[in-house]
């Protein structure tokens, strides 16, 4: 091999060096892409969990007669205040399916202490990501302690 005045000769050493450089760059870019993809998946999961936690919190702390999923706490008319963690089970039983942005509530369950869970609202679960959150409450009608379960999934 030799270098001529009219052009350059691509030497074998330079060729191997170039090949190794390209392989390293490809591995670095792939690693970066995987990390970014993992981050975006983590972000999606994070937002789904965050929204489900907020939905369950609203359900046990607020009162919304038009949308019981957004609030089923008992309203004390004497004190004129909503009592958090005291659930109006008649209002909760009238809950209808609802979407909150890109999150949809698919199941609401109620498990009284020492009893099996009973399903109040149920839709077939989609194949995507779902998150389950449980909150401890007292049922206003019967003064029983119970756990309200909420399952929400991505649209």
């Amino acid at each position: 091999m030799r270098i001529t005045s009219k052009g350059s000769v691509f030497s074998i050493e330079l060729f191997f060096a170039f090949l190794v450089c390209v392989l390293i760059l490809a591995a670095a870019l792939r690693s970066e892409a995987l990390m970014l993809f993992g981050s975006s998946q983590n972000s999606k999961q994070f937002f789904l969990e965050e929204k489900t936690i907020m939905l369950a919190d609203a359900l046990v702390k607020n009162r919304n007669a038009e949308q019981p999923l957004a609030g089923s706490a008992f309203f004390d008319s004497e004190k004129r205040t909503v009592i958090s963690n005291l659930v109006d089970s008649s209002l909760l039983n009238s809950a209808k399916p609802a979407k909150f942005g890109n999150v949809e509530v698919f199941e609401i369950s109620l498990q009284r202490k020492n009893q099996r869970p009973e399903i109040i609202l149920s839709n077939p679960l989609p194949s995507g990501n779902c998150v389950s959150v449980k909150r401890f409450v007292v049922l206003q009608e019967t003064s029983e302690k119970a756990i309200v379960g909420v399952i929400a999934c991505e649209n």
């Binding site: 050493e13 591995a27 670095a28 936690i53 963690n85 449980k134 401890f136 007292v138 003064s143």
Partner: protein, 120 residues
């Protein structure tokens, strides 16, 4: 092989190996999980506060009732319950924990200091 070159550059084998090792190190850095950890702590804190609120509503501070509620709400976690600074139970405590504390008046207007330590 002898090549005479007046222009151009050469990357030495040592430099290549260093670059390769550097990118291997970069790819070994784990993805940040601090957001998910924060949500887990929030959820455990919410459940702990649920227990305290329900106990404040029911005014029943018998040891049996408190421990059975604890087992009902946290079936999979190690939770230490203290009533007036006296531990009512013990379990194998490992890892991180969150605490929730409240002062609640019972039916006889005695102040009950309830503290929960939830390990996760």
């Amino acid at each position: 092989m002898k090549i005479k070159a007046s222009r151009g550059f050469a990357i030495s084998f040592e430099a290549l190996t260093s670059l390769f090792a550097f990118f291997l190190l970069l790819s070994a850095i784990p993805a940040s999980n601090s957001q998910a950890q924060g949500l887990k702590e929030l959820y455990l804190l919410q459940k702990s506060n649920d227990l305290l609120k329900v106990w404040a509503l029911k005014h029943d501070f018998s040891t049996e009732e408190l421990l059975s509620d604890l087992a009902f709400v946290f079936p999979e976690n190690c939770v230490v319950l203290k009533q007036n600074k006296i531990p009512l139970n013990s379990c194998k405590a490992t890892g991180a924990f969150i605490t929730a504390k409240a002062g609640i008046f019972d039916s006889f207007l005695n102040l009950q200091e309830i503290e929960l330590v939830v390990y996760y």
